[in-house]
Symmetry: C2
Subunit: 415 residues, 2 copies
């Protein structure tokens, strides 16, 4: 039977050129994050279906690749619905498995636990350009540290990594859910409609202040409230100390602890960072996931439009899963996005050493072959990458192919 040649819908084969960049970036990620005391760990790709469908994953729960039960547990005749057929699924993120891992292994882990995960996740999203159904996520999380040292270290580690990848002049935007809430409260919006307000606010970068105003009014919020709310954003515009300006505008009703916390984080990050970037308070930053409880942050690069990393504090989520409240804060880089940017840029992996190709004529007698192999061995021992390969009939084409793979030196051996 002939095989289906293409990968399954929405997934992709990784060719050697991209693989070189991916391997290099993963190596740099692990090295950089290890330098900050993060510990690599791994969970299985397959997770209990109950854990995946626990309402922590939002819309991602609609996109699960579900795995059929096996053996006598699978009963097609009596199955009433999908749930009767499956017992597990592929993970759609690394956060749900981290919560399970932490509760399963907590006695063997240090507190706080600084976790580093690089792994594939799967979502049965509508296939579209640049978005795949299997993709790599890269998360760092600090579990069990309630202080802002967690935020500071997460931001320093992530920005150091981006700097080492030669990204410059990016911007870290930071906010706090408590600030979002106190601004909404000051404006007189009812608490139960905060989420609705924030969903509209989240569009600020696309539709601007006037667009947000119009949508809020359309959604039935009072004109007085909307104007008061808009006034707060206007009061901050162009101000060096935006947090201070906001506090003034709110007549002291800004959440003081959250404001001080943000200032401390920003100051410490600015003072100790090694990469070139800005960190700014952004009162319009919302971040979608409802599980965030405090600080939220994102990294944006003007030249590439959307964000390349995002995270925040989620002090309640692990407890909801495990029954033991555990504060937590995480930062996730958009690994696939960064790879795409690097490939588009024509990024060259810093050379791991010289690459030589030895082309050997077919039918080389055993003794002569041995000489060639010894020469290859000696080069390899010196750290040179040596490809020993049978010479093709079309030698010129073969060398062109190899040049594309990064081989710069060719040596031919004839009978």
């Amino acid at each position: 039977m002939a095989m289906k040649k293409k990968p399954v819908t929405g997934m992709k084969d990784i060719l050697p050129a991209e693989m070189r960049v991916r391997d290099y970036v993963i190596g740099l990620i692990k090295e950089t994050y290890r330098g900050f005391g993060f510990t690599p760990m791994e969970t299985p790709c397959v997770e209990h279906i109950e854990n995946l469908c626990s309402k922590q994953g939002g819309d991602n729960e609609k996109l699960i690749f579900k795995i059929l039960k096996r053996g006598e547990k699978l009963n097609l005749e009596t199955a009433q619905s999908e749930e009767d057929l499956v017992d597990s699924g592929l993970r759609y993120d690394l956060t749900v498995p981290l919560a399970r891992y932490y509760s399963n292994n907590v006695s063997q882990l240090p507190t706080p636990f600084k976790a580093l995960q690089v792994g594939s996740v799967w979502r049965a999203d509508r296939p579209q350009k640049g978005r795949f159904r299997q993709f790599t996520q890269c998360d760092i999380d600090i579990l069990g540290d309630p202080t802002n040292l967690a935020e500071i270290e997460l931001i320093l580690a992530t920005t150091t990594l981006l700097g080492r990848l030669d990204f410059k002049n990016f911007k870290v935007r930071i906010n706090d859910r408590a600030i979002l809430r106190s601004m909404a409260a000051y404006s007189g919006f009812p608490e139960e409609s905060y989420d609705k307000v924030f969903i509209i606010l989240d569009k600020m970068d696309k539709i601007g202040l006037d667009g947000v105003r119009a949508e809020l009014l359309e959604s039935g919020f009072s004109e007085a409230g909307v104007e008061k709310y808009m006034g707060l954003f206007q009061a901050m515009e162009g101000k060096e100390d935006a947090v201070g300006a906001l506090n003034d505008a709110m007549e002291g009703q800004l959440d003081a602890a959250a404001a001080k916390n943000l200032k401390t984080i920003m100051e410490n990050v600015r003072e100790t960072a090694v990469s070139e970037f800005d960190i700014v308070f952004d009162p319009t930053l919302v971040r979608g996931m409802s599980y965030y409880t405090g600080t939220i942050f994102e990294i944006e690069m003007a030249e590439f439009g959307s964000s390349v990393a995002g995270g925040g504090r989620y002090d309640k989520m692990i407890g909801r899963f495990t029954g033991n409240e555990t504060c937590a804060c995480g930062f996730s880089i958009g690994f696939e996005r960064i790879i795409t940017i690097l490939l588009d840029r024509g990024f060259q992996v810093p050379d791991a050493g010289q690459k030589k190709a030895f082309l050997i004529e077919k039918g080389m007698p055993a003794g002569r072959l041995c000489q060639v192999l010894k020469e290859a061995r000696d080069e390899r021992e010196k750290g040179v990458q040596v490809l020993t390969v049978t010479m093709n009939k079309n030698k010129k084409f073969q060398k062109e192919q190899l040049a594309r793979e990064g081989y710069t030196e060719f040596k031919e051996f004839f009978i």
Copy 2:
């Protein structure tokens, strides 16, 4: 809802200590094999169900984790059998996806193509100690090289890797399916029962010559044939040049090309290897997979019983899948087995640098915190791994935990 804490049956969480060893070994694998001109590549973990069930995978096809169709493609009412419910599954090896990858991307790959794959595979095997349903495979394959340069390079690369992991005095056993066949033919066994003969022969290391003789007789093979067959093995016993002795015993009926080929491979490997090991002709080596067409080989370490690597030439398989005949030869190391051996041995990852922990008292004022972070930054820039962490109430226990994680130096910062 409380979460299920344990991983799904038969899969495991990887704790930091094991993860360090795995990361180190994977790094060494990639570095060593790249030195031999192998190119990392990757396929999706999910594969078309038709490709997985194409009868190339032997018994593994019974162990597939199958993935449910999604959306309107899933119709529970009209589904008659399992096949109607699924469209894909998790790969059970890296060879089937390699065949698909090669046929899908051949125009963009060099010929010959030296592929390196490290990746997870899944088999719904009965769970047992040391065997997991998700595990890592590590394969190197050379596609498109009909010469024994392929075998020689595969064996050199694999043995170099094992040497770098400090394995010594292991043994590479090598045979050829053609030799197996010509020995069976010489003994007068009917061709259609060769596989039955080889399955019994494969038990030689467990049941010995007498056991094999008894089983062959029990299976109904003629006494004359069985004695002739046994005589060949006896003729080789203790002989330095076993291939020569076999040829003499077979009165010149040994497959001459295969015999010469084995000799060339063994000579070249012996002459150019950098690690300490033996390579020996083993006429009892069978290897289970029926897709092998020529040379077969295995690496065995006396102290660990079973084999730690295996492979061979499979010139027909890719063609059966893709319609274009492509010769191929591969070698797979038992990654999980090697990790288990290293962990049992108490293997210590060669230090990637110093590890210091900075314990910071809770409530550190912003300015002082900044000083601590700068000190950490400067150490990190010098390559030291620095964990900055909030000091716990039980500082002694915290330091003990961190010492287990490899932290050798502690510095405390008080308010």
